[in-house]
Assembly symmetry: C2
């Protein structure tokens, strides 16, 4: 494959765009905190142990990208709540996939708490690349196809 083709492949991929929004250090950990119920500056700061100026900067950026929403608390005007937007909530598959990978290949120990299906009370399935019908696919069952090639 010639280099020109690589350039094209990699230029038409949304991964760099995604990383631009959430690829900085601490961003994922702040989002994990938000998924676990953190919502105030001091909560994020003391729980994550992140430097205050960095946290401030990251929160501004996540809000600018529409991933978190910043709302002054009307009841206590010192307080500000940061909550996930739809855009932010849709990052859950990314966080869970990374966490499961870390669990299996890095830390080696099961994480806690566990995300469970409310109905069955059973833990969620491992994140996997799947066919339209939901069947998990291995790398051998996958191939890259140029969009234009798709009938």
């Amino acid at each position: 494959m010639i280099e020109r083709e690589y350039q094209k492949i990699l230029a038409e991929c949304a991964l760099p765009a995604a990383l631009e929004a959430v690829g900085e250090r601490w961003s994922f950990l702040i989002l994990r905190g938000a998924f676990n119920g953190l919502s105030h500056f001091e909560e994020f700061q003391s729980t994550l142990g992140i430097a205050r100026n960095i946290l401030s900067n990251r929160l501004v950026r996540l809000v600018e990208h529409g991933i978190l929403q910043r709302d002054p608390d009307p009841a206590d005007r010192r307080k500000v709540t940061y909550t996930l937007t739809d855009k932010g909530r849709e990052l859950l598959p990314v966080l869970i996939a990374l966490r499961q990978w870390g669990e299996r290949w890095v830390s080696g120990v099961p994480s806690n708490p566990v995300l469970v299906d409310r109905a069955s009370q059973r833990p969620i399935a491992p994140m996997a690349v799947r066919a339209e019908d939901g069947r998990p696919l291995s790398l051998q069952e996958l191939m890259w196809v140029d969009r234009a090639q798709l009938q």
Copy 2:
């Protein structure tokens, strides 16, 4: 929820461990390149436009973490090939989830090339958190449960 509990929740999560391995700038883009067939230093460098010293450092770290494998080419002793290990290949769900999120929420345009099921020649399903039986679950259908609580 008191702060002590947050500390515990976040300490028992494998996400920080995962980020330690692949959370640095460029790591994901290097891995994306590897999934797309890049294997040589000069290929990564010219395709990604990454500084040579940073690329060198990132490749060393990914090899140290067992995510890439470094092999001198016996046919041309100047060349070295970097290939994904099983540990590296299992990061595909993370990369795909991020790419799909970026596609939907940041770039707004479909990425190319597309990952398809070799059998059906149809694109893969969107990455989602799913129940054991493969059913996609929304955030409302999910809850965090302490591991010890599980029957």
